[in-house]
């Protein structure tokens, strides 16, 4: 069979052109971004409502809100070597557990950066396969056979003769044809979109960092072994 008589394979390009790739990829991303935006708003509201004290001054257009961070008290404990008798020099020392307190903004101990869409993964796979196969088998077998025999007798007086004869023929012809044709093509289209949570905005980290660095422990009075 001629190659032109065979059906055409599916065009791979045509299969992929109709796909709404924009929607397939952007829709989930947009949903994630929208969710993230909502979370950011909630996070800001949470920060202002629970981690700050709002102080409102003025009215109308002159209204001003000042946010003051809510501070919590943290306790520091450590062993301190204190002379048994502070009035004497070269006195033996003893270890005493001393406690000091310091203020820390509550904002610094809340894991704020966990409030966001962590990861969005969109995996879209499309596979198109097209194949064509043809198999033709033709077999022809012919057999001819013939057989003939004859016998003749001639007799004259005391003489007689007989003649026998036979003839045969055998003919066999065989023809075999086997055609196999196969063609195939395939294409795979794979899209992987990955989005993950970025760090907290620089401004927020700066504020938290400033708060954290501003921790100011109370200094123990000199020459007293008593914890504050």
């Amino acid at each position: 069979m001629a190659a032109t008589d065979q059906p055409d394979l599916v065009s791979m390009a045509e299969q992929f052109t109709g796909l709404p790739m924009d929607d397939l990829i952007s829709s989930p991303l947009m949903a994630a971004a929208k969710a993230n935006s909502m979370m950011a708003t909630t996070q800001t509201r949470f920060m202002l409502d629970t981690c700050f004290e709002a102080d409102e001054t003025g009215e109308g257009e002159n209204k001003k809100i000042t946010y003051k961070p809510i501070m919590i008290k943290m306790e520091l404990t450590r062993g301190v070597l204190i002379p048994k008798d502070p009035t004497k020099e070269d006195e033996k020392f003893e270890i005493q557990e001393t406690k000091t307190k310091f203020d820390l903004p509550i904002l610094t101990i809340i894991p704020l950066n966990s409030l966001a869409v962590d990861e969005v993964k969109i995996t879209f796979d499309m596979e198109v396969k097209s194949s064509y196969g043809e198999s033709t088998s033709k077999k022809r077998e012919e057999a001819l056979a013939g057989q003939a025999s004859w016998e003749a007798k001639v007799g004259y007086g005391p003489f007689s003769a007989s003649v026998k004869g036979s003839v045969s023929y055998d003919s066999k012809s065989m023809e075999s044809r086997d055609t196999h044709y196969e063609k195939s093509n395939s294409a795979q289209y794979s899209v992987l979109v990955h989005a993950s949570q970025i760090q907290l905005p620089k401004g927020v980290t700066t504020i938290i960092d400033a708060f954290a660095k501003a921790i100011d422990p109370i200094t123990m009075p000199v020459n007293t072994g008593t914890p504050s």
Partner: protein
């Protein structure tokens, strides 16, 4: 989830778990062995804040499931 604060003494990073902090756990600085804990008087404030925070986290989990 843990949070990090700078050690008030040596500025080494100390990892704190807020939930464990309100349960009375103490965290030690790996460098100067300073022990940090939450003072008793602040426990209720932190507990309230964390409860509010967990509500938002639940909301976030629901939104993630819908995404």
């Amino acid at each position: 989830m843990n949070v990090q604060i700078a050690c008030p003494d040596c500025t080494t990073t100390i990892e704190l778990n807020p939930t464990k902090l309100i349960q009375g756990n103490r965290f030690t600085c790996s460098n100067c062995k300073l022990v940090v804990s939450l003072a008793e008087e602040s426990r209720s404030v932190v507990e309230e804040t964390l409860t509010e925070f967990q509500k938002i986290q639940t909301q976030k989990a629901r939104q993630n499931a819908l995404t």
